[in-house]
Amino acid sequence: AEDPLIEQVVGDAAGDELELNAEAHFASFVRRFGKSYRDDGERAHRMSVFKANLRRARRHQRLDPTALHGVTRFSDLTPAEFRRQFLGLRRSSSRDLLKASSAHEAPILPTDG
């Protein structure tokens, strides 16, 4: 759902700069959020996830220009890890909720005036 309709396939200067400095950005991220990894292997893996998330943040910025996207404390997590650890809503919709719970539909309220 997050992929743009038209995907840029050639590099751009800002993107290349970001990639080149990914190690420095990662070191800054580790310091800022007090991250620690059990060994060098884990650190290298998190670094590669972080790099992917830098690209993802850039993609989000292009798709969502009225917000600011960038490095957050979740930048060393894959989307699946992020979902598992920080989300947790069972899938449902309003229609399902009405069927599934003892909830009733809220009465329609006046909205004029």
Binding site: D3, L63, T66, R73, L87, R90, L97, A100, S101, L109
Partner: protein, 233 residues
């Protein structure tokens, strides 16, 4: 309806909390809605316990008995409201503090501070959502959180965003014209309280655009529930 409204300015919203590495967003959305409803019923803001629901709420969907509230493995706000009606209510955060992991139930009925009177599901209509927000207090909602992993600030209004819901949050207000995007117009937005601590987003809050031309962005209108609290002295 007022053009702008924010329950934080009316004292109905507690401090931003942090769910840690635990899929318990649904319990934070539930406590946020009940904290607001309890404030409207009593005039007193009680910070309520998520851990009670994480440990004790195993309420299941009557149509899908295998789909149940399951602490750090996820849940649903309406089934949590249902649990709260059956169990009698919620203890305070102070009496039943959050640990961020699943534990055994230590619910003490004598320590209940807020009780659910009724709850209902609001139709997928932004005017009705706004009206219910203003009348009944902050609303428990579901959202697609894909853009929230990288969000830092501003009004989020992605051109494309999935509508499958994976995160429970709290709708606390709305603004009429908060940002001037490349779309050339000042656009209205919802104000959403998240449970990832104060250092995430705009002091723990997320803003996402709303209608008339961008309804249900990231599924924000599609799972909205409201709760009322029993007036206790």
């Amino acid at each position: 309806l007022p053009t702008d409204f924010d329950w934080r300015e009316h004292g109905a919203v507690g401090p931003v909390k942090d769910q840690g590495s635990c899929g318990s967003c649904w319990s934070f959305s539930t406590t946020g809605a009940l904290e607001g409803a309890h404030y409207l019923a009593t005039g007193k803001l009680e910070v309520l316990s998520e851990q009670q629901m994480v440990d004790c709420d195993h309420e299941c969907d009557p149509l899908e008995p295998r789909s149940c509230d399951a602490g750090c493995n996820g849940g649903l706000m309406t089934t949590a409201f249902s649990y709260l009606q059956k169990s009698g209510g919620l203890e305070s955060e102070k009496d039943y503090p959050y640990t961020g992991s699943d534990g055994t139930c230590k619910f003490d009925k004598s320590k209940i501070v807020a009780q659910v009177k009724n709850f209902s599901v609001v139709s997928v209509d932004e005017d009705q959502i706004a009206a219910n927000l203003v009348k009944h207090g902050p609303l428990a909602i579901g959202i697609n959180a894909v853009f929230m992993q990288t969000y830092i600030g501003g009004v989020s209004c992605p051109y494309i965003c999935g509508r499958h819901l994976d995160h429970g949050v709290l709708l606390v207000g709305y603004g009429s014209a908060g940002y001037a995007p490349i779309r050339f117009k000042e656009k209205p937005y919802w104000i959403i309280k998240n449970s990832w601590g104060e250092n995430w987003g705009e002091n723990g809050y997320y803003k996402i655009c709303r209608g008339p031309h961008v309804q249900n962005k990231c599924g924000v209108d599609s799972m909205v529930s409201t709760v009322t609290a029993i007036h206790t002295s």
